[in-house]
């Protein structure tokens, strides 16, 4: 008993000093990700995709302020935004069940799922703590082909969310086509006028509030981008921020 007390004091004071460096940095930053169908960070952790950096050790740590449309939430691990990384697309039908692995069970406001900038599903937990497991069945609203689903776990009592992008081949055509094949033809020379037939192919400067159709092009920050998914632009969805919507040409 006596020795215990003697040892505890230095420990407690060392801990007080070290608390920020030891704990605020590591364990506090980790919480959850989509394990199945395998999200990009799960594919890194599983070794399916290499060259991911430290996210292999902490696929649960893709945390950033709420509201981003990027696969990494705009925070650490920008490798997750790289569409040319060879992510494997999981073949699914018209809907799929998304399974989460959690390392901390934060009270939750919502779980959101997006394709191409459109929210396709939301599950409102009303501030409750998740149970042992979390899974959601999400319908893809008739979308087919290769798609990237962005999943967001919005924490109720902080400004943060957890992000996971899940690459899918919807429609059960099977197999895994090479990545980034189905967005509009990229084989054309970089002269812009898109030969696609979509009516509003502006070619103008990107503007929030504009409805863009697949294949249309815009300029932003001196670069030209081609629209990968029809959507109405919102502030924060500037082309360089949302690789799911805009491909640089």
């Amino acid at each position: 008993m006596k020795t215990k007390k003697v040892i505890l004091y230095p420990l407690a004071s060392a801990a007080a000093v070290a608390a920020t460096s030891l704990f605020a940095v590591t364990p506090a930053s980790a919480h959850g990700y989509v394990s199945n169908p395998p999200s990009r960070q799960a594919q890194c952790a599983q070794g399916i995709v290499s060259g991911c950096g430290d996210v292999v050790y902490e696929p649960q740590s893709v945390e950033a302020p709420k509201g981003s449309m990027q696969c990494n939430g705009g925070g650490r691990f920008p490798v997750l935004n790289d569409n040319g990384k060879g992510w494997r697309a999981t073949s699914v039908g018209s809907s799929a069940t998304f399974n989460w692995v959690l390392t901390a069970r934060h009270s939750t406001s919502t779980w959101e799922y997006f394709i191409g900038g459109s929210r396709i599903a939301v599950f409102d937990d009303g501030g409750r703590q998740p149970g042992a497991t979390v899974s959601h069945n999400v319908n893809f609203g008739g979308r087919t082909g290769r798609q990237t689903v962005l999943a967001r776990w919005n924490i109720a009592d902080t400004a943060m969310a957890f992000y996971a992008c899940v690459d899918l081949q919807i429609g059960g055509s099977g197999g895994n086509p090479p990545p980034v094949t189905n967005p509009p033809p990229t084989t054309r020379p970089p002269t812009n006028p898109p030969p696609t037939t979509q009516p509003p192919s502006q070619g103008g400067t990107w503007r929030a509030g504009t409805a863009y159709s697949t294949g249309s092009t815009v300029t932003y920050g001196g670069a030209t981008y081609r629209c990968r998914q029809a959507h109405t632009a919102l502030a924060g969805w500037e082309p360089p921020n949302v690789p799911a919507l805009w491909e640089r040409v």
């Binding site: 801990a15 364990p27 394990s35 050790y57 692995v101 149970g131 042992a132 497991t133």
Partner: protein, 187 residues
């Protein structure tokens, strides 16, 4: 219980003056060299993880539907027992408590969130056949990720060579298990 029986048997054998010792677990090699508070915290936290996960891994080893799940859980159970024995001996060798002082404030605000809750174990027990493996693997994955975080903290900030070697070994073995479990979840 069993250990007590083994010890009693060993004592009886020794008392009888028999030369060959009863088959016992090999003694843990003493930890050498200096250590810092990160080393202590690492051992305490991983010991705590193993305690928390004991029921989970036992359930998975027993009730897993797929043989791969049962085998993996059984291996993990053995591995945690071996590691716990080593870590306990090291902490005792340093004269350090086996558990972090809950009043130190170190875990404040996060201890509960990052822990397996009794309700998680209850949900696993209640899971039907169709959900058991998915539930067990999801819980085990979360649990291992937390252990890896503590091991990586040790690798970065620990001082003791033996403890850091153990941390490296924990990271490597857990990453392999994470890969296996992610694969099982996806198949």
């Amino acid at each position: 219980m069993r250990r007590r029986a083994v010890l009693a048997l060993a004592a009886a054998v020794l008392a009888a003056g028999c030369g060959s010792p009863a088959p016992q677990e090999a003694p843990v090699a003493a930890v050498a060299g200096p250590h810092n508070e990160t080393d202590v915290m690492f051992l305490q936290m991983v010991l705590d993880h193993h305690r928390q996960g004991a029921e989970l891994v036992a359930l998975a080893a027993d009730r897993g539907r797929r043989p791969e799940v049962r085998q993996l859980a059984a291996r993990m159970k053995q591995q945690w027992a071996d590691e716990s024995r080593t870590m306990t001996a090291w902490l005792q060798g340093w004269g350090a408590p086996l558990e972090a002082d809950q009043d130190a404030g170190v875990h404040a605000g996060h201890g509960d969130l990052h822990s397996l809750r009794p309700s998680d174990i209850e949900e696993l027990k209640a899971a039907g056949e169709a959900d058991f493996d998915r539930t067990a693997l999801s819980l085990l994955l979360g649990h291992l990720h937390n252990t890896v975080e503590v091991a990586r903290m040790e690798s970065g900030k620990g001082a003791n060579a033996d403890a850091k070697a153990l941390a490296g070994q924990i990271t490597t073995t857990r990453q392999e298990q994470v890969q296996q479990m992610l694969k099982l979840l996806a198949s």
